[in-house]
């Protein structure tokens, strides 16, 4: 059992939880993820690592209530526990293998959207701790859904906020902001790392290809085991089939077939919808998952 040490509401329906998992905390690196299971009859769901504290033995996850299982996670309170918390999984960010000289020689921009902001944080924090603060663009639908703003500002060189409705920061999409920075303001980037919804990453990749900036995307595909066993996470990269869980989750964004990846994400959508409907019915009867 993996106890929830702290729980924090970051935005409506988005929670941050620090989970006691000393082994995972000890080995976690930026870019990796965990597989979580809430209850005996529950699914195994992949969640990116949003932070880790080796000393305290905790790992932070950020979850938005979108499906049946994420709702169950978010309904848990401090002191309660997750049944399973396996990781760290996937390959760490390539950046951790680079020397100071290599890092100093390039200007890095992170582009995060929605809950994808959370996994940007450990990468930006890592670079910041090595003395190379990156630039960061964070996109959200609206002001209320902006998460981790203070934390992110602290580890960014420049922090650019965008909202779809203009309620905070730049009005528009992250791609609009990126284009504005590079084309209008003449900023130069040697590497873009993008994490967020597939559709956002697709268009970031499209833009950076036009702009000629090498780009890494961290994919959030379906998974069952997360260790290379099932192949549910397969994705076409440069025409070759790769497993997101063991070959990724980070890939050359210009080589990823995002249309296929988005289609594959929806494979169980109808069934998931039914599960969620059942859960909502249960909620009504037993009042779990109520808002605080």
């Amino acid at each position: 059992m993996f106890t929830i040490i702290r729980k924090r509401l970051l935005a409506p329906s988005i929670y941050s939880m620090d989970i006691k998992a000393p082994r995972v905390a000890k080995s976690a690196q930026p870019g990796q993820f965990v597989i979580v299971r809430v209850r005996e009859k529950g699914e195994r769901i992949p969640l990116t690592i949003a932070d880790y504290n080796r000393k305290e033995g905790t790992v932070t996850i950020v979850t938005q209530t979108i499906g049946a299982s994420t709702r169950l996670i978010c309904a848990l309170e401090e002191g309660e526990a997750l049944l399973d918390f396996a990781g760290p999984l996937g390959r760490p960010s390539e950046l951790i293998h680079e020397t100071d000289e290599q890092l100093a020689s390039k200007k890095i921009l992170f582009v995060g959207g929605g809950v994808g902001t959370a996994p940007v944080y450990p990468q930006a924090k890592y670079l910041s701790e090595r003395g190379f603060k990156p630039d960061v663009i964070i996109g959200a639908k609206t002001r209320d859904l902006v998460i981790l703003e203070d934390e992110m500002r602290a580890v960014s060189n420049e922090y650019f906020l965008t909202t779809d409705d203009g309620s905070a920061g730049f009005k528009g999409l992250v791609t609009d902001r990126l284009k504005d920075l590079v084309v209008n303001q003449g900023k130069k980037y040697d590497l873009v790392v993008t994490i967020g919804p597939m559709i956002m990453m697709k268009f970031v990749a499209k833009l950076t290809q036009e702009l000629g900036i090498p780009t890494i995307a961290s994919l959030n595909t379906l998974m069952v085991d997360g260790t290379g066993m099932c192949g549910a996470c397969r994705v076409s990269v440069g025409g070759k089939t790769r497993f997101t869980c063991v070959d990724g989750p980070e890939f050359d964004a210009h080589q990823v077939d995002f249309d296929e990846a988005m289609r594959r994400q929806n494979m169980y959508r109808t069934i998931e919808g039914q599960k969620l409907a059942e859960l909502e019915k249960d909620d009504h009867e037993c009042k779990i998952g109520r808002d605080k």
Partner: protein, 465 residues
């Protein structure tokens, strides 16, 4: 004469019933049936069955005890060599091992050794029979990677020798392929797998789940900071193979591993579980091994019509005869001598069919089986909405990739001495599918036992006994 008697038949769930549930197909023998079948054993002086058993169970002795109604004695005899008799009695390919060597098989039917083993094991469980063994701890620690058949067998023998043994398991339930791969209707999980895993734990073996060796910790962490004197790698062969044909990433194409993991480990067949599974109406399973049969029969139970596509003929099917027989009884349609060339999509990117080409058999290839050759111009389409690829699996490269100096074959298998389990690194042993590629439960157990013996020699040799 007793040996002329035919085999005592084994009761099974009727095909038309069992395709509607995931309950066990085979009911096994009851006590009187088992005693009657045990009568057929002629108690050879030089029993060929024992030589043909990868873990050398004293078969004539345990059968004699069954015949004499001494079931607890039979249980003890098997327990000397196997910690998983209820599993092996169900999933071992006895026809090519013990029963294949049985002298009665030359002129008639061999003794049903598998079902007798199963009877004894099930009797033990139902009678709650457990004989505690007193072992003096020897002060040494061994870590085992993977709680499948190889790891459990290795752990059992080492625990009996006084070692403090801890098994690290990547998934949330112990058992490896017994848990995620083999379906409930062949190998009940709570009743059989969990029970036998618990028996191993009663010997003092600890199992820590959710630990992915190579990610959560490394082999060198185990030998270093965690203070283990030796490590055994029994991580299996879990990486699925695909055909690399067009359309393989369409929605509706899954590996047998994914389909079976969702069904078995994640219990997708039980509506109380959250796991989604997409079964469709018509399923095409590609492959001819036991895993292909398991996937086909699971899909059938989940309500689909199932075609099984295999590129060679019935004779070359790698699956056990019993599995093929059961699959046919359950209405699986065998499309033999056909090979898929493309998965066909509908306008939304979901599977609508499988294009295949007819094959004929040519000269034997390096595996000794006749090589399938395409018949030009014979392509045709099978209508289906799900394709399950069951083309075999290979070892996961995670451990080899994070253990410097651990040598592997080009296809991923860890290089280990077949007799001793020794790898290219001192103190690291390996066995089972991680070394051989996908094989059987019992061969993995045999490798685990061999390694245990040599781990003991190694540790006592190095640290003193």
């Amino acid at each position: 004469m007793a040996k002329k008697e035919p085999r005592v038949p084994v009761r099974e769930q009727l095909p038309e019933e069992r395709i509607k549930n995931f309950d066990e197909v085979c009911y096994g023998y009851n006590a009187s049936e088992a005693m009657q079948e045990a009568e057929r054993c002629i108690q050879c002086k030089n029993p060929r069955c024992v030589q043909a058993c990868p873990v050398y169970i004293q078969i004539p002795q345990f059968i004699k005890a069954v015949k004499e109604n001494q079931f607890s004695e039979a249980f003890d005899i098997i327990a000397q060599d196997s910690s998983l008799p209820a599993v092996c009695g169900r999933v071992c390919p006895q026809e090519t091992q013990c029963e294949g060597a049985c002298i009665l098989g030359i002129k008639g039917e061999p003794v049903n050794i598998g079902k007798l083993e199963r009877f004894v094991a099930d009797w033990g469980r139902e009678a709650n029979y457990f004989k505690p063994i007193k072992v003096e701890p020897n002060g040494y620690k061994v870590a085992i990677v993977g709680s499948g058949p190889a790891g459990l067998a290795c752990a059992t023998d080492l625990a009996k020798l006084g070692y403090k043994v801890k098994i690290f398991e990547a998934l949330h339930r112990p058992g490896g392929v017994l848990e995620y791969g083999i379906p409930e209707f062949r190998l009940p999980k709570d009743e059989v797998v969990r029970y036998e895993v618990n028996n191993v734990m009663k010997l003092g073996v600890e199992i820590e789940t959710d630990v992915i060796v190579g990610r959560t910790i490394t082999i060198d962490d185990l030998l270093g900071a965690e203070g283990y004197h030796a490590v055994f790698i029994g991580s299996g062969a879990g990486l699925p193979k695909f055909m690399n044909i067009p359309g393989e990433n369409l929605n509706g194409v899954v590996s047998a591993n994914e389909f079976l993991t969702r069904t078995n480990l994640m219990k997708a067949y039980d509506p109380q579980f959250d796991t989604p599974i997409y079964v469709g109406k018509k399923v095409a399973v590609v492959g001819g091994g036991n895993v292909a049969m398991d996937a086909a029969r699971s899909a059938r139970r989940l309500g689909a019509n199932v075609h099984l596509v295999y590129r060679r003929s019935e004779k070359e099917l790698p699956a056990r005869v019993e599995e093929v027989h059961h699959a046919k009884e359950e209405g699986i349609v065998f499309k033999l001598l056909n090979n898929p060339t493309e998965v066909l999509a509908d306008e939304k990117g979901w599977v609508r069919g499988l294009r295949c080409i007819k094959m004929e058999l040519g000269e034997p290839d390096e595996s000794g089986r006749r090589r399938p050759i395409e018949v030009p111009g014979s392509e045709f389409e099978i209508e289906c909405d799900v394709v399950i690829m069951s083309l075999g699996t290979s070892p996961n490269p995670l451990i080899a990739g994070t253990t410097p100096g651990l040598q592997t074959e080009r296809w991923g298998g860890i290089i280990a001495n077949e007799e001793t389990g020794e790898t290219s690194r001192e103190g690291i042993f390996a066995g089972g599918d991680a070394v051989t590629g996908a094989a059987t439960v019992i061969l993995a157990m045999g490798a685990g036992r061999n390694a245990a013996k040599h781990i003991d020699e190694y540790v006592r040799g190095k640290y003193g006994s």
